[in-house]
């Protein structure tokens, strides 16, 4: 799979870091499948792939954040075990993450030298540190002040500080994870200049990005990941953007989807010109018996949009019509009364009370209904919990088991069960199958079909293209906060849809 490096470029004979049959499993998911890849010393190697293709997992294995399940990592030909970030740092492996991981309350200089402070007799030499920080930043060509508190800078500038920090301490191998997501054009140019400079100093760069134009501008080679597998590695002068997108989206049909032919019912919700924090001018409609899929890259504004529909965040413009009547949704309780249900993206932080019982979690939305006067009808409470445990095949020792001890799939079923108990006309599913095993996925798909048969409408946000592709009656593509394209069921190829989402 490796091809010779460009003439006069890095020496292919000595891979600085090599992965052999590297494998990573989480409960329920096989995140990386037997990766074989060698990085050549001094190259810029881009890694592309859809959301969930395994890019982040790969970084975390290489920086020692996650332990590998099996396989081997070689550093300059020596087999190494990365038992923690410390081991990776000691070798000279460092990463700049998408979100800044620094101390926002400290100054730029203090952040740059955190853990490596300049002291004399145990006292901090603050002025000297600011001076050398300024030298470092100027030397890198970054226009960032050294003596201000980090949190007063823009996210983009903070990203540059993080990069400067990573490049400081004898780094030989530097991984960038979507570094330009929050950068302005000028900051991007400064960053690229730094990356090229590091390369000229012999540092190996792994560059992860959705933005294919950056890959072609910067990289020597590019590898494509899809569903945890390494699909191919190319020299950038041997492939074009369409070729990369094809490699990212081509799939053998190994996943099972379940969809019934359900006639579309009357119009349920009509959204006109909806704008808010993270999304602009979104118009779409949902009918009973229909799945409306929202696809896009992470950060395209889909979750923000559905959470605003649900009243979680305010919207700045636009109207909602429910069965033809204009409505306002001021908060979540309004939305629920109206007949909406949100199954949020993050089960653990938004969906579940982890240290409480299964029973309390599946009944949380319906305690009003389970009460007579002031007390809860215990028999009704247990019956409602047991019904969901039985119907959804939730595997749990008992209804009083704490939700935290359940598997990801069963936790997701608890969230679903909560809303089945409550009932709704319009279900907003945000990434319903993330971290869920294949069997549970199929159960969730069957459940969607059942909801549609019963006359509900569904909006489904998913970052996994085949899923929205196979299940949606109408598929909308979001890019940079906007709805950029709409397709009927399987009207276009996955390649065309991914092209819209990336915006080539």
């Amino acid at each position: 799979m490796d091809r010779p490096a460009p003439q006069g470029g890095p020496d292919p004979a000595t891979p600085i870091l090599e992965m052999r049959d590297l494998d990573k499993r989480f409960t329920g998911t096989h995140a990386l499948k037997s990766i074989n890849l060698a990085f050549v010393a001094g190259e810029i190697h881009a890694i592309v792939g859809e959301n969930g293709a395994g890019k982040s997992t790969l970084i975390k294995l290489l920086t020692g954040v996650y332990p590998k399940t099996s396989g081997e990592i070689f550093w300059k030909g020596q087999r190494v075990d990365l038992d923690g970030p410390h081991d990776a740092l000691a070798l000279g492996i460092n990463a700049v993450h998408q979100e800044v991981v620094l101390c926002p309350h400290l100054t730029v200089a203090a952040n740059l030298f955190l853990g490596n402070e300049n002291t004399r007799y145990g006292l901090l030499q603050s002025r000297a540190m600011v001076r050398s920080a300024r030298e470092v930043l100027d030397g890198l060509g970054f226009s960032v002040p050294a003596d201000v508190v980090l949190s007063t800078l823009t996210i983009g500038q903070q990203q540059l500080v993080a990069t400067a920090r990573a490049s400081l301490r004898g780094t030989r191998f530097l991984i960038f994870d979507e570094p330009t997501s929050y950068l302005t054009r000028r900051e991007t140019a400064q960053l690229f200049a730094l990356i090229r400079r590091l390369k000229s100093e012999g540092v190996t760069i792994v560059y992860i990005s959705h933005r294919l134009e950056e890959v072609f501008e910067l990289a020597d080679r590019v590898s494509v990941l899809r569903d945890g597998q390494l699909i191919s590695t190319h020299r950038v002068d041997e492939i074009d953007e369409q070729g990369l997108i094809r490699a990212m989206s081509n799939r053998s049909i190994e996943q099972i989807y379940y969809k019934e032919a359900i006639p579309t019912g009357p119009l349920l919700l009509e959204v006109q010109g909806f704008s808010g924090d993270g999304f602009e001018d979104i118009s779409l409609s949902v009918h009973r018996g229909e799945i409306v899929g929202l696809y896009g890259l992470v950060g395209a504004g889909r979750s923000e949009f559905v959470e605003s529909l649900f009243g979680r965040f305010p919207h700045s413009a636009g109207t909602l019509r429910w069965e033809g009547h204009e409505i306002t949704v001021r908060n979540e309780r309004d939305a629920i009364k109206r007949g909406l249900a949100l199954l949020p993206e993050s089960r653990r932080t938004q969906g579940l009370c982890l240290n409480l019982s299964l029973s309390l979690n599946v009944n949380l939305a319906i305690y009003e209904r389970l009460s007579r006067f002031i007390t809860i009808k215990r028999a009704a409470e247990t019956a409602a919990a047991d019904r969901q445990i039985k119907d959804l095949h939730i595997v749990a020792p008992s209804r009083s088991t704490l939700v935290a001890s359940l598997s990801g799939g069963n936790q997701q079923k608890v969230v679903v069960g909560k809303w089945l108990n409550h009932g709704a006309d319009l279900f907003l599913f945000d990434e319903p199958t993330v971290g869920v095993d294949v069997g549970t996925k199929l159960e969730i798909y069957r459940l969607l079909a059942k909801l549609l048969r019963d006359g509900a409408g569904i909006i489904m946000v998913s970052s996994y293209l085949p899923e929205v592709y196979e299940l949606s009656d109408v598929l909308h593509v979001f890019r940079h906060k906007q709805l950029v394209a709409s397709y009927q069921h399987k009207e276009a190829s996955m390649e065309a849809i991914l092209t819209q989402a990336i915006g080539v």
């Binding site: 009370c353 409480l356 007390t375 809860i376």
Partner: protein, 317 residues
């Protein structure tokens, strides 16, 4: 297989939750043997009276701690409510009206705590620390730092009376504990309280009115503290702004000994009751055994660490 393991574990958990009661009974048994005066009706009534006041504020404190908050102002509310009720009585207001007005003041203080925490976004620790200090000041200002005595006999006799052999103050605990139990363990509002303490975001997205729930917790805490303040004024036959100083710590200790988690979402009504009785017993027993009162403080501190440590062990299983 996992089912039997779980049942076994459930049985162990029940056993461990009984340990607090067993520990209490054990201490009582030992004290009855080693001191002649512990097991006397007189001493027991006295112990119950003191435990009553702490138990009432500890129950209110429990509600707040379940929401992951804390109410440091309960002790100050005890003193402040005592001043209010005493001043009203001295002004010739009827006993019932004085009590109701004082309880209303408690509700207002609790609502102010809720306002500070929810609307101003202050950490509960800071908000209630601020009112603790301020309420002390207001109470001292109103009374000029002096004691208000000469309260009506009908008011002061109440706390000395007993009904069916049980001190009336302890009846007041029952009066508080039963509706509290219904609220926390049998009603939907109790479920909502636990849900908000466990994950406010998930509760909100499930349609729980999070602010109402949190307001309720702070209001109940201050209401119960005001009630304890009225009873304290009756028991001591006076209103004094510095009554109840430091009781917030007794309340927090009682509820934590009773199994409430400071991380929220774990707590019960029987827990703080037992905790308050245990704390009072240690004080009472120490006095009867002629243990230096300074040593009593040290022993109390040590016991809190030991009991809560074992409680955490149980939860971690």
């Amino acid at each position: 297989m996992s089912d039997t393991v779980n049942k076994a574990q459930a049985r162990i958990n029940i056993l461990l939750s009984l340990t607090l009661l067993i520990l209490l009974l054990l201490i009582w048994a030992i004290l009855s043997v080693v001191t002649p005066s512990f097991a006397t009706a007189n001493n027991f009534v006295n112990l119950m009276r003191q435990a009553s006041l702490w138990a009432i504020i500890a129950i209110g404190e429990t509600f707040v701690i379940i929401t992951t908050g804390i109410d440091l102002a309960v002790g100050a509310v005890v003193g402040f409510a005592g001043v209010i009720v005493a001043m009203l009585l001295k002004a010739g207001v009827s006993i019932w009206a004085s009590v109701l007005i004082t309880l209303a003041v408690g509700v207002a203080i609790g609502a102010f705590h809720g306002f500070g925490v929810l609307k101003l976004g202050l950490p509960p620790f800071i908000m209630t620390l601020a009112t603790l200090t301020a309420l002390h000041g207001i109470g001292l200002l109103m009374t000029n730092g002096s004691t208000i005595s000469g309260l009506p006999d009908a008011f002061t006799d109440f706390s000395r009376e007993a009904f069916l052999g049980i001190p009336s103050l302890f009846w007041m605990v029952i009066l508080v504990a039963i509706p509290s139990y219904v609220y926390l363990h049998l009603s939907r509002w109790g479920r909502h309280l636990f849900a908000v303490g466990s994950n406010a975001e998930a509760a909100r997205l499930s349609g729980v009115n999070v602010s109402t729930t949190i307001y309720t917790a702070y209001i109940l805490s201050s209401l119960l503290a005001a009630f304890a303040g009225i009873l304290t004024a009756s028991r001591l036959s006076m209103g004094l702004a510095t009554n109840g100083t430091g009781w917030e710590l007794q309340a927090i200790a009682s509820t934590v000994i009773g199994g409430t988690s400071l991380f929220g979402a774990i707590g019960s009504v029987p827990g703080p009751l037992l905790g308050a009785i245990l704390l009072t017993t240690i004080n009472n027993g120490g006095t009867l055994l002629n243990v230096n009162s300074f040593w009593q403080l040290i022993i109390t501190g040590g016991l809190i660490i030991v009991i809560v440590y074992f409680d955490q062990l149980r939860r971690r299983r």
